[in-house]
């Protein structure tokens, strides 16, 4: 073999090996993992004929703390979407004393049952430099569709304790990112580091039975198998309240929750695993 032939060889030894590194483990770039998507086919479907419903109202007693005005002058594109001064409103009380933005979910009682992941994605929008909704629930493995409706940079910085967090940016209007969380976790704080006033919470459960109270405080969780459940209501500044409820075949049970100003400043659970369906060892953070 002549020396010039060695050129070929060295070329392939060095460069071809170099190229080999290029196609490593492409594709594993999703921040949230995808374990939820292989939900067991044998999941017990709840017979619609016997499916129960839990509904109720979350109310607030006392004086809600005054909100803080947000100076949005640095983002004219956001400011012009607001007809009134945008406020940071940690406790949103509706006309009838209902408390909005409360995450209500089945904490115990489903045992080892597993459920198919909802096909439809939950949506977290960023509009007018605010999150909409402020609190959103998803099932583990369910798609969370994050959208930017503002022509400014937002970053969605999630800070879970159990799941793998992500921090993704959306520099332009109309951008969308889809992420999933693998494990149940109540709650996951979300913030935008560009706009310090923006925050939201994501509740991740092992089952599709969760709701967020609307502005008047009402919520509905439907399609439940009949049984006895511990229902928890979670609020970002007021903490949690739980109650036990039993619903029979095709029944609608009522679970009303009440929060008061005295609860402000108390403990607010964050980043906790939920549902006894999980083996105890799964909580590793």
């Amino acid at each position: 073999m002549s020396f010039r032939d060695s050129t070929w060889v060295a070329l392939f030894a060095a460069v071809a090996l170099g190229c080999g590194g290029g196609d490593g483990d492409a594709g594993s770039s999703d921040g949230g993992g995808d374990a939820g998507s292989d939900a067991p086919a044998a999941a017990p479907a709840v017979d619609p004929a016997i499916a129960a419903t839990v509904s109720g109202t979350v109310s607030f007693t006392g004086t809600a703390p005054a909100g803080t005005a947000i100076d949005m002058s640095e983002e004219p594109a956001c400011a012009e979407k607001h007809t009134t001064t945008p406020m940071i409103q940690p406790v949103r009380v509706g006309d009838g004393g209902g408390l909005g933005d409360v995450f209500v979910y089945v904490k115990e009682g489903l045992g080892d049952m597993t459920f198919p992941t909802p096909a439809a994605a939950a949506v977290l929008d960023q509009n007018g430099c605010e999150y909409a909704p402020h609190v959103v629930g998803v099932m583990a493995g369910q798609d969370l569709n994050i959208r930017n409706s503002d022509p400014v940079l937002h970053n969605i910085n999630t800070q879970p304790e159990i799941n793998r967090g992500f921090n993704v940016s959306q520099p332009r209007a109309g951008m969308e990112s889809t992420r999933t969380f693998r494990d149940a976790e109540v709650m996951i704080p979300v913030k935008c580091d560009v706009h310090g006033w923006m925050n939201a919470y994501i509740g991740v459960t092992d089952n599709p039975y969760h709701a967020v109270s609307s502005a008047d405080g009402s919520f509905t969780i439907s399609g439940l198998p009949p049984g006895e459940y511990v229902i928890e209501a979670w609020h970002a500044t007021l903490g949690v309240s739980t109650q036990t409820i039993t619903v029979g075949d095709a029944e609608t049970g009522t679970a009303d929750f009440s929060f008061s100003e005295d609860m402000a400043g108390g403990p607010v659970p964050m980043g906790e695993t939920v549902d006894l369906a999980h083996p105890a060892g799964h909580t590793a953070g």
């Binding site: 073999m1 020396f3 010039r4 060695s6 050129t7 060889v9 060295a10 070329l11 030894a13 060095a14 460069v15 090996l17 170099g18 190229c19 080999g20 590194g21 290029g22 490593g24 483990d25 492409a26 594709g27 594993s28 770039s29 999703d30 921040g31 940079l153 793998r164 921090n167 993704v168 940016s169 520099p171 332009r172 951008m175 969308e176 990112s177």
Partner: protein, 584 residues
């Protein structure tokens, strides 16, 4: 210098005559020439990667928010629908710098040419430690592949800049990058070890294995620069390695060397990094200065002007290079009194560089210049490196640095030095030694086309960046128009980006020319440039072991155009009775 002047002994090395297996000869080779060629191919690959990253980041700056052609091939975490995300942009900036500095320019200068040239220019059979040499290459390859792989891990590649300022580099919460950051540290740590193995080898070889008669002041300037570079590496790289290990611990096991919450100090990283980083800058330029000295003397057909002052300038640069690191930190919060002393040393280090530029001009003065492609690149080096040197003076003045620090002015400066300087020298070296390495010529016309394209496009890309810096455009920003004072610079950025695409295309043209010449170039004679140093006495390419019988050196390295001689060059091993040794 008395001990350094001792007569070299020319350690006899067994020349292996027996045939070697294919793998031993070409893959796990211990032949310094094969290792040099392995480095060359690998570095050209990484150079291409670095260039590609530059094209992507220039696309974002030229056309902010537009859909990058082909960008939809990238994962959604980098560029959803082909629109580059800010976090990916930060990775692009970081990895462009990393690949260019650590995996292209530095190993092209040192890995390729220290390996290839030291034994053939000083007249010996091989490196002092051939197996360490082989290990050095393979560690380099591994480190580069680790770095490349970090693009595909969750969170993407490191996004804290090639300078890796802590705490951004030490805290995954702040940068959004965890695995990629760890891979960066591990990769550079392996790279550092590879460089150390190289340095030890080069220093030992140059000290111990010079051919009979090859005294210190008869060494080609390439060898001088590579020798001093190896010493710089030996002293500076361990500091980087230590800093990297501390950073890795901060990342992984919860130490807080650079995290302030529990007593760490972010500025410590900067001091350690730049204590390595500034000598590193000279590692990145000194060998280029050596190549250029060689090529300019050859093209001008004259002995190098002021050989001794060139050597002293190299040594002065190396010495001063260790006490100027603070000029990267004038605005860092370091004690302002320190800024004063670093400013003085920094301004003084400009002097040896100026001496070298004037000596190159002195070499051309009165010459009989042959405009071969390597010479064009060497002249390009002188013209562009000078600009990089001048722009450095602005930043050396600490009050002026207040404004231009961290702006595109420094981006212009570093590219005039590392591209206009180092990379032009590397191109010159590739054209100059290609016939020796591969036994074939690169077509001169094709090479000159490459030179003119590169020279013109380079200036179109980087000269306007001085203006962008003066306008206040900060480094590493994804979309300058977000700031009011930068609302008027988009035209310039778009023009610069078009020129950058052209520059990348001229690089591709070079790659094609390089590989085409490898197989189709005209066969090269022994001494195509009619040069004087020892490698040109060997066949092209030289055989394994280089010499059957070691040459004896009779005079200095650049005996061109001696008045007593018919031909205008005198090889270092040609007998002095042909011509009296006029050298010193």
């Amino acid at each position: 210098m008395a001990t350094m002047m001792a007569e070299p002994t020319g350690v006899p090395v067994r020349v292996e005559e027996h045939p070697q297996s294919f793998i031993r000869k070409y893959i796990f080779s211990t032949d310094h020439k094969i290792i040099g060629i392995q480095f060359l191919f690998t570095c050209l690959f990484f150079l291409l990667i670095g260039g590609l990253l530059a094209v992507m980041l220039r696309f974002q700056l030229g056309f902010p928010g537009a859909t990058m052609p082909g960008g939809s091939l990238l994962p959604e975490t980098m560029a959803p629908d082909g629109i580059i995300l800010p976090e990916f942009y930060n990775s692009l900036v970081t990895m462009h710098g990393t690949f260019m500095v650590f995996f292209a320019v530095m190993p092209l200068l040192v890995g390729v040419y220290a390996n290839y040239l030291i034994p053939v220019q000083i007249g010996t059979h091989d490196m002092a430690f051939p197996r360490l040499n082989m290990m050095s290459y393979w560690m380099f390859l591994v480190s580069g592949l680790i770095m490349l792989s970090s693009f595909w891990v969750i969170g993407g590649a490191s996004a804290s800049g090639w300078t890796q300022y802590a705490p951004l580099s030490a805290s995954p919460e702040a940068s959004g990058v965890s695995t990629g950051q760890i891979l960066w540290i591990v990769s550079i740590a392996i790279f550092a070890f590879s460089s150390l193995l190289g340095s030890v080898n080069y220093i030992t070889t140059i000290i111990n294995q010079r051919a009979p008669g090859m005294t210190w002041l008869r060494l080609p300037l390439v060898i001088w620069t590579l020798f001093i570079t190896a010493i710089l590496g030996l002293l500076a790289i361990p500091v980087l390695t230590a800093a990297l290990i501390m950073l890795l611990f901060d990342q992984t096991i919860g130490t807080t060397f650079f995290l302030p919450d529990t007593g760490g100090q972010p500025l410590l990283w900067q001091h350690l990094f730049w204590f390595f980083g500034h000598p590193e800058v000279y590692i990145l330029i000194l060998p280029g200065m050596g190549f250029v000295s060689e090529i300019i003397a050859n093209g001008s057909r004259k002995p190098i002007f002021g050989y001794k002052s060139m050597v002293y300038a190299i040594i002065a640069i190396a010495g001063l290079g260790f006490i100027v690191w603070g000029h990267h930190m004038f605005q860092s919060g370091m004690n302002p009194a320190l800024g004063m002393s670093f400013m003085i040393t920094t301004l003084i280090i400009a002097v040896p560089s100026a001496i070298k530029v004037f000596n190159w001009m002195g070499t051309m003065w009165g010459g009989s210049i042959r405009f071969h492609t390597p010479f064009l690149f060497a002249v390009g080096f002188v013209m562009l490196f000078a600009i990089g040197g001048f722009s450095g003076i602005f930043m050396a003045s600490s009050p002026v640095d207040i404004f231009i620090h961290d702006t595109y002015f420094i981006v212009a400066h570093i590219h005039y030095v590392l591209f206009g300087g180092s990379l032009f020298a590397i191109f010159g070296a590739i054209y100059y030694w290609f016939p020796k390495m591969f036994g074939r010529m690169i077509n001169e016309t094709a090479g000159k086309i490459h030179f003119f394209l590169t020279f013109v496009l380079f200036n179109l890309v980087f000269f306007p960046m001085h203006g962008l810096g003066m306008a206040g455009m900060m480094r590493r920003i994804y979309e300058p128009a977000q700031y009011e004072h930068l609302s008027g610079i988009q035209d310039t950025n778009t023009m610069v980006s078009w020129a950058a695409f052209g520059l990348f295309a001229s690089g591709l043209y070079f790659m094609v020319l390089f590989f085409w010449s490898l197989f189709k170039g005209k066969p090269a004679p022994e001494n195509p440039w009619e040069a004087t140093t020892l490698e040109w006495t060997l066949p092209s390419p030289p055989m394994h072991g280089n010499w059957k019988e070691l040459p004896t050196v009779y005079h200095g390295p650049y005996e061109y155009s001696h008045p007593d001689m018919e031909k205008d060059w005198l090889l270092q091993n040609e007998r002095p009775d042909v011509v009296s040794p006029a050298h010193h």
